[in-house]
């Protein structure tokens, strides 16, 4: 018997309204009475059209309304009929794909010794021996040319300065910004600049330069003194908080052309999300704070176990509730993990790849070697050529084939795959030794977090839909 059954979706509720998050399209539809009743009937069973109509007519719905609803649900793939749907084949993108962002590791040296660091810590994957530690101006210019030449059709490209500690090579950052601006103007393009720093070397001159040049700044900091200084220490073991706090306050005060963000690494010892958030926004003045669990093998003392992740999710949820209150009152809230997820949910992003690494984004090492992203530079894994000789297309094609969601069988029954797509390549490489492995250790976390954000999205959509207009434009240009 050919019968109807439920399609693939995640049902959720927000602000008293029922919604469907359809998979794999990532479309979000609000349900009303009849559509809810049809889906309710099909819970855990299959029914023919006549059976559905008969049951619902008995409940008082008109035949034509039921028929109409069945058609709509079927057309949107919320219910399936017979053999169901053939999922659209997701082909790897056409090559060459225009670049959008290059992350330049202007140095691999750092004046801090954070023990969890993926570049220098126990789980490092880079092998920079024998290569230059600081990017030369020549290599930096080569990187800019490479980015501009490899981004046909894009008006705006992004250049991110990264390290090591970026400011250890500020001279090159400065000259590169000037060079890139002129070169881009010649080609009729714009370049957007950003950088990540540990803030230890910020000076008034550097801060005014960053402000004048509209450079987006993200500061790595793990919250108030007691949590920041657990891992973020100088080579002599001294905590960095006292050095950076006054510098950050000056940065936030002077640099008003772009929102200043904080990037917090959560570890088994640093998990007090709300307290860290309050400190970094209210006391330090950051506009946005983003949190990410440390990337590490599970045996490290600072690795967050699954219980720890539950606790993090609990705290994320609490802080996300606060975001919701702000959103309903049309106020800015700087919890960027929510903001970023809402942006993706609003657009209905359905990813073939977890991120743009190796596709629209590449990392470049101090010596000019190209890596999948900044976390892979100078590592044998994820090496994709050199800025002078260009992208190794064969290695790139192999990465794009292996990293594609089609090849991640573990993900094929997961409703959160449109947003996750298997998760971070670097995390996968550190945990499983394979960039294309699905990050199975945080599946529950991803589903939990996506559900929280869907509920928040649903509540905003029901109670203050105008707020969502800010997510109408996609960030990428």
């Amino acid at each position: 018997m050919s019968a109807y059954r439920q399609g693939e979706f995640h049902a959720f509720e927000g602000g008293g309204q029922d919604y469907l998050y359809l998979v794999p399209s990532a479309a979000i539809f609000a349900l009303e009475d009849v559509s809810k009743a049809v889906l309710g009937l099909l819970k855990d069973r299959e029914l023919s059209r006549d059976q559905i109509v008969a049951e619902l007519v008995e409940r008082g719905y008109s035949r034509s309304t039921i028929e109409e609803t069945l058609n709509e649900l079927h057309q949107a793939h919320a219910i399936a009929f017979g053999d169901g749907f053939t999922e659209p084949r997701l082909d790897p993108p056409q090559q060459p794909f225009p670049l959008q962002t290059v992350v330049m590791n202007v140095t691999n040296q750092c004046n801090l010794s954070c023990s969890y660091c993926y570049e220098y810590g126990e789980d490092r994957i880079s092998t920079p021996d024998g290569k230059t530690k600081f990017m030369s101006e020549e290599t930096a210019r080569g990187t800019v040319d490479f980015l501009l030449n490899q981004s046909p059709g894009r008006r705006m490209v992004h250049l991110t300065f990264f390290g090591g500690e970026t400011l250890l090579n500020f001279k090159v950052v400065k000259s590169t910004i000037e060079y890139a601006r002129n070169k881009a103007a010649e080609m009729g393009k714009d370049v957007d600049f950003s950088m990540t720093t540990n803030a230890t070397m910020l000076t008034s001159e550097i801060i005014s330069f960053l402000a004048e040049n509209n450079v987006g700044v993200t500061v790595s900091i793990d919250g108030p003194k007691e949590s920041n200084d657990k891992f973020r220490v100088f080579h002599n073991g001294k905590g960095s908080y006292d050095v950076i706090a006054p510098k950050i306050k000056e940065l936030v005060k002077v640099h008003r052309s772009r929102p200043i963000g904080a990037r917090v690494t959560l570890t088994a010892q640093v998990v007090d999300v709300k307290k860290i958030f309050r400190h970094l926004t209210d006391e330090m003045g950051f506009d946005e704070v983003g949190f990410a669990p440390v990337t590490t093998s599970p045996v490290r003392l600072y690795a967050i176990g699954s219980n720890g992740l539950d606790k993090v999710l609990e705290q994320f949820t609490e802080l996300a509730r606060e975001y919701l209150e702000y959103a309903l009152a049309n106020k800015h809230h700087g919890f960027s993990n929510v903001n970023d997820t809402l942006q993706e949910l609003h657009q209905g992003v359905s990813k073939a790849y977890p991120c743009g690494a190796g596709l629209g984004l590449l990392g470049v090492s101090p010596s000019g070697d190209i890596g999948l992203c900044h976390r892979f530079v100078d590592s044998p894994a994820g090496k994709l050529g050199h800025v002078d000789t260009g992208i190794d297309r064969q290695a790139q094609a192999e990465h794009l084939t292996r990293g594609h969601i089609n090849t991640k069988y573990d993900c094929h029954t997961c409703w959160a795959r449109p947003v996750c797509s298997g998760g971070c390549y670097h995390e996968a490489y550190v945990r499983y030794g394979d960039t294309s492995h699905a990050n199975l250790h945080y599946c529950d976390w991803i589903r939990g977090w996506t559900d929280v954000c869907l509920r928040i999205y649903g509540e905003i959509a029901a109670r203050n839909p105008r707020y969502l207009e800010r997510f109408d434009e996609r960030k990428a240009i």
Binding site: I28, S35, G82
Partner: protein
């Protein structure tokens, strides 16, 4: 759509797609999704439909399919062994010069086994 409300941008796109795909065929919308049926070759002797061999006036000018199409219906889709070369084993290329049956049917190879 009346019973589902598009909320995010993707849902709006899905809705637009559905409207374009199904919107102006109201008659079909009332019948539910098309069911999978066995394939019947259009020009088979089992189907005595107009448009096969002669039109209503006994000629070939008003056929809904060009007469040359029957070559292909006998050749590819029909279960009955028609008088066409064995394209699986011995003559896989016998129609290679015939890109369009209506125009190129004269180029179809003759086969003398």
């Amino acid at each position: 759509m009346k019973h589902l409300k598009a909320v995010n941008r993707k849902a709006v796109r899905v809705e637009e797609f559905i409207a374009a795909e199904f919107g102006d065929v109201h008659g079909l919308m009332q019948q539910g999704p098309p069911q999978q049926r066995p394939h019947y070759p259009l020009g088979c002797s089992l189907v005595f439909s107009p448009g096969w061999e002669t039109d209503s006036a006994g000629g070939t000018a008003g056929l809904c399919q060009p007469v040359e199409r029957d070559l292909y219906d006998c050749y590819i889709t029909c279960f009955w062994p028609a008088q066409v070369p064995d394209h699986f084993n011995n003559y896989p290329d016998w129609t290679s010069k015939c890109a369009s049956a209506t125009k190129d049917w004269r180029n179809i190879d003759l086969v003398f086994p």
